[in-house]
Symmetry: C2
Subunit: 204 residues, 2 copies
């Protein structure tokens, strides 16, 4: 979203920043540093506005943090709804699309960077933990729908969804492992394995 | 490791801290906050010693950071060597043991917390990135050995190893998803799927 008054550097004009501008700036600091670095004075300096103008949009820092999580969760959920409920694609196509998501260039890279930064925050903050758990549960539930549509039991569909989602996170976290050709081959292997039937239980 | 002179609080005795004490303290700060919070003055204060005593053991902060990574990498590799080269267990047993690792209580929790903190650091530091890539490559290679021993081609063994390792990270990252019973069932499903034969390629 282009910032209004992009060319002006005066405080008077910069006060026309929207709440989203602050949330964007805060998310960027979160990605580049950590949640402890998300401080009103640092953000105000970066946005070239007074510290006081922050309080036109947010009650306090906690209010900003809540809204960072809310926007992330909304985007994560909306992305899923677009993909799953509006596409009308066959469930196996959707599974393949999901397996391909980590390779969607800059968008995937950016989205993974924000996810990872928020997960790092959630390691030591209960509010962030709840937001992450909620987003993970929604994503897993949507992915499981695909496997149910492919004829698996709900239980097995949930397991397959968990494994596919783990794989997607794995490709983001292990992005330097293997060549492009190996990654491509690996993705096809995972698709085939997850879209296939379960092997019979091994004798223990 | 019990700290020498545990009961004394004087600086003179506290200077008997070992390099490992500093590395432990730094790792703890890394887990609880972020790499930017790992500062010599903060650590010295926490350990109740002078800032100067740090320099008896380390050239500078970068030296400490290098050694945090080195110790983490050594522990991660040693853990694997113990498990794989000295156990003499059958490869399918090793695969099941790996799938069980995320559930090994406090040890697993602590180890996952350190891994995640170091991954968060590696998102924006080249030295940490290299250490993480190296540890991931070693872990993946060891896991792939199990699948080769089970008769899979090297390529397919690598894919199965990637999926198992992703699952292990998934259980650590998604630790609040599902009940204990569901997690247990999910683990058995993943073991069965990964220890089974690959289904025939689906027609695209």
């Amino acid at each position: 979203m282009p910032r209004r008054q992009q060319t002006s550097a005066t405080s008077a004009n910069r006060t026309q920043l929207t709440p989203d501008d602050w949330i964007d700036a805060a998310t960027q600091v979160l990605v580049e540093d950590s949640i402890n670095a998300v401080r009103v004075d640092v953000l105000a300096k970066g946005l070239q506005v007074t510290r006081g103008s922050f309080y036109w949009h947010f009650r306090d820092r906690d209010d900003l943090l809540t809204q960072i999580l809310k926007r992330w969760a909304d985007a994560a959920t909306e992305q899923l709804i677009n993909r799953f409920e509006r596409s009308g694609a066959a469930p196996d196509t959707l599974v393949r699309e999901l397996a391909n998501l980590p390779f969607r260039g800059r968008t995937a890279h950016r989205s993974a960077a924000i996810d990872q930064a928020i997960r790092a925050w959630a390691r030591r903050d209960e509010m962030a933990r709840r937001a992450v758990d909620d987003v993970d549960a929604k994503r897993l539930s949507y992915i499981a729908h695909c496997f149910v549509a492919l004829g698996h039991s709900i239980k097995e569909a949930q397991h397959r969804a968990f494994l596919l989602y783990s794989y997607m996170m794995g490709e983001a976290l292990l992005k330097n492992q293997g060549t492009d050709a190996q990654r491509d081959d690996r993705r096809r292997f995972v698709e085939t394995l997850l879209l296939g039937q379960a092997p019979a239980e091994n004798v223990e």
